[in-house]
């Protein structure tokens, strides 16, 4: 018989909790409350934008990729939470700033804080450090890095439109769960334009060391981006047909470049 402790190593889900009658044992009840309290506190924290800016500048140095900070129409974190419409649009000064960066880009890389500061603080730079060399090797023309404050997913559409990029790759802090407060999400939109909706996007969720690790997330991003640019589509029309990792040889740690 396999002991519970071993089963529990197979998933971060709360399994094998035991029970008091049909209910949770005291220890588990309080553990849940503590995790919830921490997640609630995390929602109100802002990312360290200065640090992120430095990190992006370092990454982009050799490639001469600039890092541009922009802001959405939302002014405070509270307003951001209750007014998603404001988080989807650029503030006018930011929009004006982007006019001079129009170019012949295959993609615009945008980072937005979303609902988890921790996702950006911990995972944005390390993930891009894995992704960027592959994009460069594949000769994608990359626009300047965009750092969008209080931005929602759709702000990537307006940014991509301003830059005249063929596609937007938007990285955003996903809402913090109880077991993971640092999940980064990737949203790909081909032909980004203000007013596009969810069916036109492909999403990769849960990019973090304990979730979809950086190597696999980068492979998937490059796969979707390549297919998207080749076929001129994204979203529900573009199916992810990549063989899942658990069906492959798990030993391979090499990034497939072609």
């Amino acid at each position: 018989m396999i002991p519970w402790e071993e089963w529990k190593t197979l998933t971060s889900a709360r399994i094998g909790l035991g029970r008091s009658g049909g209910s949770l044992p005291t220890k588990e009840l309080l553990k849940f409350r503590l995790d919830h309290a921490r997640a609630r506190d995390a929602v109100l924290v802002e990312p360290d934008f200065r640090n992120l800016q430095n990190g992006l500048e370092n990454l982009g140095k050799d490639l001469h990729l600039e890092t541009i900070s922009v802001e959405s129409l939302a002014r405070t974190r509270e307003e951001y939470l209750l007014r998603p419409d404001l988080g989807r649009r650029l503030a006018e000064p930011s929009r004006a700033k982007l006019q001079s960066y129009k170019g012949e880009y295959d993609l615009a890389i945008v980072a937005a804080d979303g609902l988890s500061a921790k996702a950006l603080d911990s995972n944005l730079i390390p993930f891009l450090a894995v992704l960027l060399p592959i994009l460069v090797y594949k000769k994608f023309r990359i626009g300047p890095f965009l750092l969008a404050k209080l931005g929602r997913v759709a702000i990537g559409d307006e940014i991509g439109e301003c830059l005249q990029a063929k596609a937007t790759v938007l990285l955003i802090g996903e809402r913090p769960g109880l077991s993971s407060a640092d999940s980064l999400g990737m949203y790909l939109t081909f032909d980004p334009k203000t007013g596009k909706t969810d069916e036109s996007r492909n999403c990769i969720s849960n990019i973090r060391p304990d979730g979809l690790d950086f190597r696999r997330a980068a492979e998937k991003t490059v796969y979707l981006l390549s297919e998207s640019l080749r076929r001129g589509i994204s979203g529900v029309d573009l199916k992810d047909e990549m063989k899942p990792d658990f069906l492959e040889n798990q030993n391979s740690s090499k990034i497939e470049i072609d």
Partner: protein, 464 residues
């Protein structure tokens, strides 16, 4: 033409039906965000008073979204049954409430008028109803569906075993399935939200679930909650698919934002029916809905979010689903701000769905940026138990590690079954007892670790 209510010297005017419905709606953040909510509490009640006096036939004459541009409106009008409507055609909205609550109105009386009710009529009457009204009337409207077991019988409560995993790892999923089955969860469906909409992953997970269900002869069904077109690709590839899943909404434009329309849903239903995988019935569709999605997609046309949600049920009804799930607090506080708003929305959705004749389940849930906690979920859970909800979610420890939200747990289902003396679906109950997993003597609770070894092969199953 407009509507008005005179209160003393003050006259409240409502220019059209959709503004009357929106302003009569109980307070919620999404309607405020859309700019359609009443601006004062008094205006809200004035709207409810005007709405109470409105004749039901008015809803057949006014299209909230023009039928020329909206196939959901066309569907609602085409599927309206005039014969069923005839006995209530003279009713006002207020009289419909009185009728539904009358002690003379039982489930048979409701089933007779059911097809004469449009989603907008039900949304309207729900706005007049108190929470207890919504519970009482829904309780009178049981809806029974079948695939490999029978769901929705009075005195029964099923659960969807939701063993999600952040990277769709089969072993991690299997561990959660095992935990859920040992706690009596999974009769509504064993349903996985995949981390990505990847066709080979969907097929691999379908095969894994099918192997588990067959090996242990579990009277239940499986579902991978991917996009309908992905399910169709999986079926084309010969995957063992039980149920077709899709998120749907109350306008053509919203459905388009989900990448679907009525014809693609019909096509997928036909494909699933042809697989003939049900044993006791043939309800092959599984829909999810939730207030706020239309506004989120910019497809709300100035209509309040609860009325739009009710219109989504007309879409669901066309396809005889096994399960319809309103995911009530999933999107966030910009649509339902706090525990009170989530609770009210859950009861409204359950009521409107049941009165339409849908097998309603509720994903009683919230996110960490909403002003809600587990006690709010306990409240709604208990009220839905009283209202006769078909099923709830069974998520390990109420914490979904893939979708990052909090829902109801295997333990919550055990609680609800104890409080109301509810039992799982009959076929599943028999399986739990016959496999020695559950004890009938102790308020229908699991036997202590007795059945564990019986099912441990599930962990091996996942490496297939």
């Amino acid at each position: 033409m407009g509507y008005k209510t005179v209160l003393g010297t003050k006259t409240y005017s409502f220019p059209d039906l959709k503004s009357l419905l929106a302003k009569a709606s109980p307070l919620r953040s999404g309607d405020e965000l859309a700019g359609v909510a009443a601006s004062t509490q008094e205006e809200r009640i004035a709207a409810q008073m005007a709405l109470a006096d409105l004749h039901l036939s008015e809803f057949l004459n006014i299209e909230l979204v023009p039928s020329e541009s909206d196939e959901v409106t066309r569907l609602i009008l085409e599927s309206h049954d005039k014969v069923a409507f005839s006995s209530i055609s003279s009713f006002t909205v207020g009289e419909l409430r009185d009728f539904l609550l009358s002690e003379k109105t039982d489930s048979i009386a409701i089933s007779k008028i059911r097809d004469g009710l449009t989603p907008e009529m039900l949304a309207a009457v729900s706005k007049l109803m108190s929470n207890q009204d919504l519970i009482l009337a829904a309780r009178k409207s049981p809806v029974i569906t079948k695939f490999r077991n029978t769901l929705g019988l009075p005195g029964r409560l099923a659960t969807r075993l939701q063993p999600n995993h952040p990277t769709d790892d089969p072993k991690g999923i299997a561990a959660s399935i095992l935990d859920g089955l040992l706690l009596g969860s999974g009769d509504a469906v064993i349903g996985i939200n995949p981390a990505t909409d990847n066709v080979p992953t969907v097929i691999a997970l379908l095969e894994m679930l099918d192997a588990i269900i067959q090996k242990y002869s579990i009277p239940t069904q499986s579902c991978i909650l991917c996009h309908v077109t992905t399910s169709m690709k999986a079926m084309e590839a010969g995957a063992p698919l039980d149920l077709v899943f899709q998120s749907i909404g109350g306008t053509e434009a919203l459905n388009k934002s989900f990448g679907v329309d009525l014809s693609i849903l019909a096509e997928s239903q036909q494909m699933a029916l042809e697989l003939k995988r049900g044993t006791v019935g043939n309800n092959v569709m599984y829909f999810e809905t939730g207030q706020g999605s239309a506004l989120s997609a910019g497809a709300h046309f100035g209509i309040d979010q609860q009325t739009l949600e009710a219109r989504a049920y007309a879409v669901a009804k066309k396809f005889d689903p096994l399960l319809v799930n309103t995911v009530v607090g999933f999107i966030g506080p910009e649509y339902l701000y706090n525990g009170k708003q989530i609770l009210r929305a859950g009861l409204e959705d359950h009521f409107c769905g049941k009165l339409m004749g849908l097998p309603m389940g509720v994903d009683i849930c919230y996110t960490n940026h909403a002003d809600a906690d587990q006690d709010d979920m306990d409240n709604l859970l208990t009220l839905l138990g009283a209202a006769g909800c078909n099923y709830i979610m069974g998520v390990p420890g109420a914490d979904d590690v893939m979708l990052s939200y909090q829902s109801t747990s295997f333990h919550d289902a055990l609680y609800l079954r104890q409080v109301f003396g509810l039992r799982p679906a009959p076929e599943f109950e028999t399986w739990l007892l016959e496999s020695g997993l559950f004890d009938q003597a102790q308020a229908f609770l699991p036997k202590e670790n007795k059945g564990q070894f019986l099912l441990e092969g599930i962990l091996g199953e996942s490496s297939r």
